[in-house]
Symmetry: C2
Subunit: 354 residues, 2 copies
Amino acid sequence: MTELKNDRFLKALLREPVDRTPIWMMRQAGRYLPEYRASRATAGSFMDLCMNADFACEVTMQPLERYPLDAAILFSDILTIPDAMNLGLYFETGEGPKFKKVVRTEADVDALPIVNTASDLSYVTKAVSTIRHELNGRVPLIGFSGSPWTLATYMVEGGSSKDFRHVKAMMYNQPEVMHQMLHKLALSVIDYLNAQIKAGAQAVQIFDTWGGVLSHAAYKEFSLQYMQQIVDGLIREHEGRRVPVILFTKGAGQWLETMANTGCDALGIDWTTDIGNARSRVGDKVALQGNMDPSVLYASPERIREEVASILASYGKGAGQIFNLGHGIHQFVNPDHAKAFIEAVVELSPQYHK
Amino acid sequence: MTELKNDRFLKALLREPVDRTPIWMMRQAGRYLPEYRASRATAGSFMDLCMNADFACEVTMQPLERYPLDAAILFSDILTIPDAMNLGLYFETGEGPKFKKVVRTEADVDALPIVNTASDLSYVTKAVSTIRHELNGRVPLIGFSGSPWTLATYMVEGGSSKDFRHVKAMMYNQPEVMHQMLHKLALSVIDYLNAQIKAGAQAVQIFDTWGGVLSHAAYKEFSLQYMQQIVDGLIREHEGRRVPVILFTKGAGQWLETMANTGCDALGIDWTTDIGNARSRVGDKVALQGNMDPSVLYASPERIREEVASILASYGKGAGQIFNLGHGIHQFVNPDHAKAFIEAVVELSPQYHK
């Protein structure tokens, strides 16, 4: 394997000393970039882009050409697993993801297969190895998956939801059926992430976009428990290096201590949490990734720089911080503002690592 | 004035001893009730219902006829103030509230009037006094308003929003314009709530539905600061009784300590917060209202009862708890499940007050 030229992201995830705070952006390969929109126009649908390793590689590389980012992330969707469970994922313009089949009954859950990545999602592992080769050691590659609970919300609701009516009704009324579904999803995610690691992913992130809509008790039982199973089931050492695992539950600011006890290496946090406060709560158990409000990128470069300075100061000196947004970058952001953001981290962070 | 026959809600808000935990439900007069849907069918639009004091009174009373609730809440909308600012509120079926005019520039903000309730929103105070008269001392009447920040989100976005793009851009790019708007809203809300108190509201709640989408720092500056101004500007004593003020920011579980320092009497909390944990954090500064996930009402009566028992046990013995949902009751809830919920509180809570 090619030597990794920039390993500050992997080091920071393990709370090892670095020269400056590493940075990447959730959804950094995305619609805010004109070159991404051009690739999309050629490739066809969003899923066509995901399923074609060359296209997925092309768009993964795009933000790296523009910005001094410290990690690449596989271009894919969190809903590949439910799609591989034969639910028929499709996207309607302006509507978000939808499924042709929804999962609402015990029989629906019984019919769900456990996904075998090698046979069902080889397009993903092919994209991983293509991107890893193309990166040629420039920065590490992040693999990812949706969390079981988050995948379940889409599978039960049939798409995005505002009130999570059906999935919560199932959770409260048929908890054993919900657990059966989450168990199948957890096994599928373990296989999926391990396949990504074997294909070349050097760190993995679990996106629990909708864990924050649960009560504290339900979060532990229906979301965190399954992320814990995944953490326990992952390959943690590969190519002679530790493969760090990042857990990101949006809206989980109140539950960081519990999340830090899963044995993951880092927590992604959103902007509702003060990162300095989070650091004092999780201690040296995990690194912290985040957490600027993506909407700050609508502001002027000066204002963006102020916000970066404030987050760096809040975290303070020492290792264990990875700069990021608290959620994916919005499609209407000016790419020059993203540049101002990333450059501010590059310029302002070295003083915290002396 | 008629003597108040059931004052356990007002007592609990002031952390005074009661015989059992009082209960009411946010949006208790609403679409889940067939009698409400019948009234709506007669009255016409939602705003027609709000603007007609007799209709507003009729639907306010409906849940009290069905359930042993300990408070009534004025039937109205949080967007009456922006509507009175001439923005043209209307409702499209299945789409939520919309405004004909949006507020996006300094000139737009300059053009906003400060609302004078007596002249601009007399239909609201008329509804308050009609309901208060009809209640005849049965239970206390709650008045309410949206928070300045929450009202601003609708005024800038022109309706509901998923990403709060425009309002956050304004907040980060033109903070002084945003502050000017929030200042006008705070003055309007003070006048509005004081008019409701004078007309007969015996407690008031400020609904900050969207404060939780802000960062911790932005929340303090753009939402809490203005709720603080409102708390400071309210009539706190009327008819020889204290008029308690409840602050409810959805998604504010991490910020309860700061909210408790505003001088309000109680905090509304959503289901992401463990109420026992919240109690230990706020101490004896404020009472706590909440916090069952409204989706639990989709479950069986037995399951609902378990959840009530668990929340009561988490809060523990002693005064200062008001039972409620963590957000408004959903329209698809079976009224018998709401009954099971309320009866569980009535039956299970006395042991915590001995």
